[in-house]
């Protein structure tokens, strides 16, 4: 199974051990699915991890280490060129295009993207975790 994890899912995983995102992250490290990322994704993750409200929970060193882990361990895909406009937030379009290009599920907790589940293979972290659990 291949999946693109919205950077917000990855950040959420770092912030709370209790939730589905954290369980998904552990299952990726255990090799239960292939995490697909193009350069734009860790780049956005790095920017977001520098957000002032996050730096009290995640130090700059830990943030850099996690971004490096993603770059080293994810299946690297090319950045989609000129992704079509689909989300009400233009910044989400590269994630949709990446998932489509790589024939992967897009896992997101962002309502902008979850509003598009009738048109694209987008699932919540909980639904994706349930899929992984069912495959056990």
């Amino acid at each position: 199974m291949r999946a693109v994890l919205d950077p917000s899912v990855l950040i959420s995983a770092l912030l709370s051990q209790r939730g589905a995102p954290a369980q998904i992250l552990l299952r990726w490290l255990r090799g239960e699915f292939e995490l697909v990322a193009s350069e734009a994704l860790p780049a956005e993750l790095g920017r977001a991890l520098a957000y002032p409200k996050l730096v009290t929970s995640i130090s700059a060193n830990d943030a850099a280490e996690f971004v490096d882990l993603l770059r080293e361990s994810a299946a690297v895909a090319p950045d989609p060129t000129e992704p079509p406009s689909r989300s009400t937030d233009r910044g989400d379009d590269y994630l949709l295009a990446l998932a489509e290009q790589e024939r992967a599920l897009l896992v997101s907790g962002d309502q902008h993207l979850l509003n598009l589940t009738d048109r694209f293979p987008i699932v919540t972290p909980r639904a994706f975790l349930d899929t992984l659990l069912a495959a056990d």
Binding site: L15, R18, G19, A20, P21, A22
Partner: protein
């Protein structure tokens, strides 16, 4: 966490370095190798971050989405 026995084939220079580290720190080969792997695989990082974790899943997602959107170049 359960421990399992395994067999690895590694470079002899690496194994010597493991033994030197073990001798200097008073740890066994398995311990030194596991520590190195946990660091390299990101497991130590997650343990470190999750020690301070006090957010619910919903709170964490809300903050994560906010961080993502507020730091986008177009914002």
């Amino acid at each position: 966490m359960a421990k399992v026995r395994t067999t690895l084939t590694i470079d002899d220079v690496v194994l010597r370095a493991v033994k030197v580290r073990g001798a200097r720190t008073g740890k066994g080969d398995s311990h030194v190798i596991e520590e190195a792997l946990r660091r390299d695989l990101g497991l130590d990082l997650l343990d470190r971050l999750w020690q301070a974790d006090d957010l619910s899943e919903a709170e964490a997602m809300e903050l994560a989405v906010e961080a993502q959107h507020e730091t986008r170049p177009s914002h």
